[in-house]
Subunit: 212 residues, 2 copies
């Protein structure tokens, strides 16, 4: 199947969303937790969390300020500068998926979708107790992506809370040991199975791949 | 385990890289194909491809112009404005991993790591024949992330070449049917298993999650 730019433009909206939201490959399934000035909690599923750098430890996520769904998340992060990113475990993907419904402003997705808010000292935003890898971030940069009116929010990691079992027998994390889920498109969820781990690639150690 | 921002800063460099490159969750495993003005091909593994929007169809990827590894990819994209993004199938993760070795400038990773370049009309950059979902992109925006001296390259999708089997029995893509791989950290690879698909979340249709 070959889609050109024109074919993509001519697809009906839902088919285009399904296709284009899948073609980048597997996406991480995370819940972003925030609190507003009145103390109301918000929890929203995001598939756009991305690693930006390790020193300082920075993560980005994409928001559409003019869009409807993550409006509370965006507003709360801009106002409070603090938020949490929580891996979604495979047993919780259905609960997490439904945080994307457009609940009224006074409904907390924590309560409606049965997640438990959890706090640590000196950090205002709520973590998700059920998550086995969760982080507290402070907003450090807001980068406009002018071509489609979106923003990348850049946060510096202040806290990582992770279940020890993620390390398995070596010092690389194995996300399958904490059941972290992946997502493609808008609604398709995956579990992960670790299949391989290779050393840092040095030229003299590259295998001879030539056939027979 | 609880790491604070200071704990992260104090980790030795390799442990920090392993940890922080894993905490965003599962990342997509893609190969980016480019060609320079002399016609030399380059192929490099990237785990930072991200969906930015569907109309226009935009994907981002993060590059560090001052870094060593993806320097040819970055230079070629800036010069030629065209590149391909190709899903890495699980049978090819080892070959793909070793494209990250710092080969001399006259070595093509296509040849050294045993991938086959493939072309379509009116598009200069090489696709990866072995990939079951591959795209041709045109560079449309270059966004500096000043806080850590990286760039997000934004490309508009010009072509999608995808094996029909990805659609399975419905109109959502199932990336496990084309064996698309995920990656965490710098070197850990995963296969995907689809576990669930839920409808668009409308408030009246949200399940009652309250226990018992």
């Amino acid at each position: 199947m070959h889609y050109t730019a024109n074919d993509i433009k001519d697809l009906d909206r839902v088919r285009r969303l399904k296709l284009i939201n899948s073609v980048s490959g597997i996406k991480p399934a995370n819940l972003i937790g925030t609190k507003n000035r009145k103390g109301q909690l918000n929890l929203a599923i995001f598939s756009s969390v991305i690693h930006l750098g390790s020193n300082p430890a920075l993560l980005g996520c994409i928001v559409r300020p003019t869009g409807e769904v993550p409006r509370h998340t965006y507003a709360n992060i801009m106002a409070e500068k603090e938020y949490t990113i929580n891996h979604i475990g495979t047993p919780f993907v259905e609960n997490a998926h439904y945080t994307s419904a457009k609940f009224d402003g006074d409904v907390s997705e924590f309560e409606r979708c049965q997640f438990t808010p959890e706090y640590i000292n000196n950090f205002k935003a709520p973590f998700v107790k059920e998550s086995k890898l969760k982080m507290g971030l402070r907003l450090v940069e807001t980068i406009p992506i002018t071509i489609n009116d979106t923003l990348m929010l850049v946060g510096e990691i202040q806290h990582i809370l992770v279940d020890d079992i993620v390390f398995g027998t070596d010092d690389d994390l194995d996300l399958s040991l904490i059941n972290s889920a992946g997502v493609s498109g808008l609604n398709t969820y995956y579990e992960l199975k670790k299949i391989a781990r290779y050393p840092y690639a040095r030229v003299p150690e590259v295998p001879n791949f030539t056939s027979d």
